[in-house]
């Protein structure tokens, strides 16, 4: 093992780094195989510094974070290297030493606040727990009052009362605040946050990142932020390490990395971002998949997917060097790096070219004052206690051949709307008209025939497929149900579909779980297209995918749309993805459509304060110009109210910076202050365009 000598500037208690990871190797053994999850990772972190670790799933970013505290999953083992923290090697430390460090000098926050808190312990007990453990001197009472103080610090309203509640009584964002309070209550020197905002909504995400930033400067602690989201990393850390297939591919200051990426993988990753592509243009994709790491690949691990790979790359592993970089901090492992001067301007956001006014087709789908309410029942205990207003009167029009992008945070009713359009839910009131006909008034036979014209594509296509059916049967099933053709014709059609979505024909003999995430979405798309529908309702189809794979699927969807004249209702929380794909955009908030219109208009001149807030909240994967401040405080405060008791008048008024008395009393009418098809439901629509917006 050749230790990387450059990190040897550490003295045990000197001025050197707080944390040094040297040549770390981690294996994860399961019954069938052993995965070499980390293969010689070296990183260092100065006191008070913020380091971002980015990478796609399977790159080893989370394993790196977990091995610092010895929290590897079952079967995981550190097989080599050192983790020096405060002069001690945590990789070789016995359990009691690790237990001393955990929660005291190093705090950790995990991804999913819904599952990472103990459901049967009160918030107070959980936040006070590290104190009772690591500060035996202080009594229970003191621990509780410090825990309460910590809750106040992380922005928990009424912390004293919240101490006594259980996790399920709090929202996701509030639970993540609790998790942060737990990690920080002993005032650690280092906070490790593993995808801390991935499970949260955009506005909540912004609030949490803001909070971590603020606490970091207040407590003077160092931070390791692990994320797949380049937008998050761009604004919250000093330095970034890009990981690929269990190794560090490139590390640099955040500015250097975003302005002058040198590794070909980093470059490819940036260009696959929908934010960086011109609207309507094809996205850059990275072909293929990351290696499985069961066997150690020879040569550069990115070589099989790299457009610049040569025999040299396939034969030998490139070392991590600073090859001629002015800053020794900028290091990368690539034989054919991006030339020094290039990159910067060429790839950075261009203003979208004006779209060729998509020949407006005839109206395909019309929703007229659509309402959906669900009765609210409380488990074993209850009778119905009112209703949840999931969709509160939505009217919109979708034209043939266009992509209608529906944006909103969780709970805004966008999924319910999609299910109604697909005929899976009956609306409580209002009408759906498909080519002028209301499916709910159709006869049974007509309805059956109508069903094939609207199909669904899901976020998790595997969960939406019978795990015991082979792909061939799954794709053929809709044809069998609808009685289309005989068996041979059906099989031919399935083979054609597999060609169209770029899967081998042999896939028919395999089961859904044998496919990777991206391949599953291809299957999901193929299944949706089996019956040659007119309209595909795609509900978050790419939100579970890595950036490089996401680009492949988005390109495929666009290509098939052109070839087959498809219409998409594309539902997503991701503003950049929607902007990339959609011709028309709708924004939903708490069951209401607050704004809708041509995509470029909505993004450039948002009329509704909610839309504006959402757009301002998005973390662009671009580093702010030198000297400008970090992103401002969250423009959207607070949380979405419960749909069981939506606010009177305008439902957004409780979080709106412009709210007046009239907003509470009168529901805003739809108006078109910008003219044309750009609609807004607001008493005080904004007139000015957004500045320098790029999402």
């Amino acid at each position: 093992m050749t230790a990387d000598n450059t990190t040897d500037k550490t003295g045990p208690h000197g001025e050197g780094p707080l944390l040094t990871i040297e040549d770390l190797r981690v294996d994860i053994a399961s019954r069938e195989r052993t995965v070499h999850a980390l293969d010689g990772v070296s990183l260092s972190l100065a006191p008070g510094e913020a380091l971002g670790i980015v990478g796609e799933s399977g790159s080893g970013k989370t394993m790196t974070a977990l091995s610092v505290l010895g929290l590897l999953p079952p079967g995981g083992e550190i097989t080599g290297g050192r983790v020096l923290f405060d002069g001690r090697d945590l990789a070789a430390a016995p359990a009691p030493v690790l237990q001393d460090v955990r929660g005291d000098t190093i705090g950790m926050v995990f991804q999913d606040p819904l599952t990472s808190l103990n459901p049967t312990m009160t918030i107070g007990a959980q936040v006070a727990e590290p104190l009772l453990l690591h500060r035996p001197g202080i009594g229970r009472k003191e621990a509780w009052s410090r825990a309460e103080e910590m809750l106040r610090l992380v922005g928990m309203p009424q912390p004293a009362e919240r101490m006594k509640v259980y996790p399920h009584q709090l929202s996701g964002g509030m639970r993540q605040r609790v998790a942060i309070a737990m990690a920080l209550v002993c005032e650690p020197k280092l906070l490790i946050a593993d995808e801390p905002t991935t499970a949260l909504d955009v506005t909540t995400q912004h609030q949490i990142l803001e909070l971590v930033d603020d606490l970091r400067s207040r407590l003077g602690m160092a931070l390791i932020l692990v994320t797949h989201d380049l937008g998050v990393i761009a604004h919250r850390v000093d330095r970034v390490a890009v990981m690929y297939a269990g190794k560090v591919a490139e590390q640099a200051s955040v500015r250097d990395l975003f302005e002058r990426p040198r590794h070909r993988y980093t470059e490819a990753l940036f260009s696959a971002l929908p934010e960086r592509a011109a609207a309507g243009a094809e996205l850059h994709t990275i072909p293929g998949l990351p290696p499985g790491l069961v066997t150690r690949p020879t040569g550069c691990r990115f070589a099989p997917r790299c457009a610049f790979a040569t025999d040299e790359c396939r034969a030998g592993e490139p070392p991590l060097t600073d090859a001629g970089e002015p800053s020794a901090e900028h290091r990368f492992a690539c034989f054919h790096p991006v030339p020094d001067e290039a990159a910067s301007d060429e790839d950075v956001v261009r203003p979208a070219p004006a779209l060729p006014a998509a020949a407006p087709g005839d109206v395909l789908l019309e929703l007229d004052a659509l309402v959906k309410e669900f009765p609210l029942k409380g488990g074993a205990f209850a009778r119905s206690r009112g209703t949840v207003s999931a969709v509160g009167g939505v009217s919109l029009t979708i034209r043939r051949g266009e992509t209608f992008g529906m944006v909103g945070e969780s709970g805004c009713g966008k999924t319910t709307l999609g299910r109604i359009v697909a005929g899976l839910e009956e609306p409580t009131a209002g009408a759906v008209r498909f080519e002028g006909a209301d499916p709910s008034r159709m006869s049974r036979a007509e309805r059956r025939a109508h069903r094939r014209r609207v199909q669904l594509m899901f976020q998790d296509s595997t969960a939406a497929m019978d795990p015991r059916m082979r792909v061939g049967e799954i794709l053929r099933e809709p044809l069998v149900i609808q009685g289309v053709g005989d068996r041979t014709e059906q099989e031919e059609r399935v083979a054609g579909l597999l060609d169209a979505v770029g899967l081998p024909r042999g896939a028919v003999h395999r089961y859904p779980h044998e496919f990777s995430g991206g391949q599953r979405q291809r299957l999901g798309l193929a299944r949706a297209l089996t019956l040659s529908p007119d309209l595909v309702v795609a509900d978050e189809p790419v939100s579970a995918l890595d950036v490089s794979v996401q680009a492949q699927i988005l390109n495929l969807m666009r290509e098939l749309q052109r070839e087959r004249g498809l219409t998409y209702l594309f539902i997503s929380h991701d503003l950049a993805v929607v902007r990339h794909l959609a011709d028309t955009v709708g924004v939903m908030y708490l069951g209401r459509l607050v704004e809708a219109g041509p995509a470029e208009q909505v993004y450039a001149r948002p009329l509704h304060p909610y839309t504006r807030g959402l757009l301002d909240t998005v973390n662009l994967p671009v580093v702010a110009a030198e000297g400008t401040a970090k992103p401002g405080p969250s423009p959207l405060k607070g949380e979405t109210p419960s749909a069981a008791r939506p606010p009177s008048g305008c439902r957004f008024r409780t979080r709106c910076p412009l709210a007046q008395d009239v907003c509470a009393t009168t529901e805003p009418e739809v108006s078109t202050p910008n003219g044309g098809a750009h609609q807004v439901a607001c008493h005080f629509p904004s007139a000015s365009p957004r500045l320098a917006s790029s999402v």
Partner: protein, 319 residues
């Protein structure tokens, strides 16, 4: 009426409805007897006159709905009929025997839980190691062994090969009498507990394993808790929740398990009463016991709900 009390009242009302249905079933059973109850009681030698007299005396010659109403009326006044063999009201018999069966059931359940919970925890912690496999094998063996066989082995081992315990349960009239002779209780209680331990420890093991993969356990580790305290403070309570369901649903089964154990050790409980009544076709007694088991079932599920709410704050707050 708020929250939990409201829920309890509702569940008790439901229980009353269920018990009403149970009474109908018991009544129908009574009338399904071949040749009717008279034939069953007077035996094949009973003359037609005797049968007619008996039927008239018991009201069995009236219409079924009338009979049911009479039955229900007697039920409500606590009259469960009279044992033909023991010449004593069924209610008195039950009053005498039920507490003893309850004592047996409660003692063996408590013993079983006290052993099964740590045992399951231990197995989960040592998952895949030799001790886990050994204990798994042992519990499966126990689970598969019929109670009467287990009881026989216990008697042979501890009352004959090594005569340290009496093979017969104490025969006192009251609970105090029974408790006065604790050594006599050991064999029946332990025999009955074995089967329960086998089942509960399996459930406990898998509940703990499920919880160990939960992310809150990783969070607790990240706070610096030792594995021992993670078990005690975090995992135990969460793992007990599924066990609570099992306990409630298992209660009626325990009652019937008592039947075998009681007849084996000549333990003067309800099971033995039932056993003897079954052999002597003493139908009022059989039906009385059936009714009690019905009540136990309903109470068991009510108990489950309450335990659930105590253990799981998510359920509590729905109320």
């Amino acid at each position: 009426m708020t929250g939990f009390t409201g829920f309890l009242v509702k569940r008790i009302l439901q229980a009353v409805v269920v018990l009403f249905l149970v009474s109908i079933i018991v009544f129908v059973l009574l009338h399904l007897l071949p040749g009717g109850p008279a034939r069953a009681i007077l035996g094949p030698k009973g003359t037609p006159q005797q049968i007619e007299h008996f039927n008239h005396q018991q009201g069995y010659d009236r219409s079924l709905p009338t009979q049911y109403l009479m039955y229900l009326k007697r039920l409500l006044t606590g009259d469960l009929g009279e044992s033909f063999k023991l010449n004593s009201p069924v209610l008195d018999l039950l009053r005498q025997r039920l507490p003893k069966t309850l004592l047996l059931t409660v003692l063996s359940t408590v013993l079983a839980v006290v052993i099964a919970v740590p045992l399951g925890l231990l197995q989960a912690v040592r998952r895949g190691k030799a001790s886990d496999y050994a204990l798994t094998g042992l519990t499966f063996l126990l689970y598969a062994t019929p109670v009467f066989f287990l009881g026989l082995i216990m008697i042979i081992l501890f009352a004959q090969v090594m005569p340290i315990l009496p093979a017969e349960a104490p025969q006192g009239e009251t609970i105090a009498d029974l408790l006065g002779d604790v050594t006599g209780l050991i064999l029946p209680v332990v025999t009955m507990a074995f089967g329960i331990i086998a089942m509960f420890s399996r459930y406990m093991r898998s509940a703990v394993l499920d919880n160990l993969t939960e992310e809150y356990v990783r969070t607790a580790m990240a706070k610096g808790q030792s594995s021992r305290r993670i078990m005690g403070r975090h995992v135990l309570r969460n793992a007990l929740i599924p066990l609570a369901t099992l306990l409630g649903l298992y209660l009626p089964t325990l009652f019937s398990g008592a039947l075998v154990v009681e007849s084996m050790f000549n333990y003067p409980g309800m099971g033995l009463l039932f056993w003897n009544a079954a052999q002597g076709s003493d139908f009022p007694v059989l039906l009385g016991v059936t009714l009690v088991v019905g009540v136990a079932t309903v109470v068991g599920s009510l108990l489950t709900d309450i335990l659930y709410a105590v253990l799981d704050p998510r359920i509590r707050s729905v109320a």
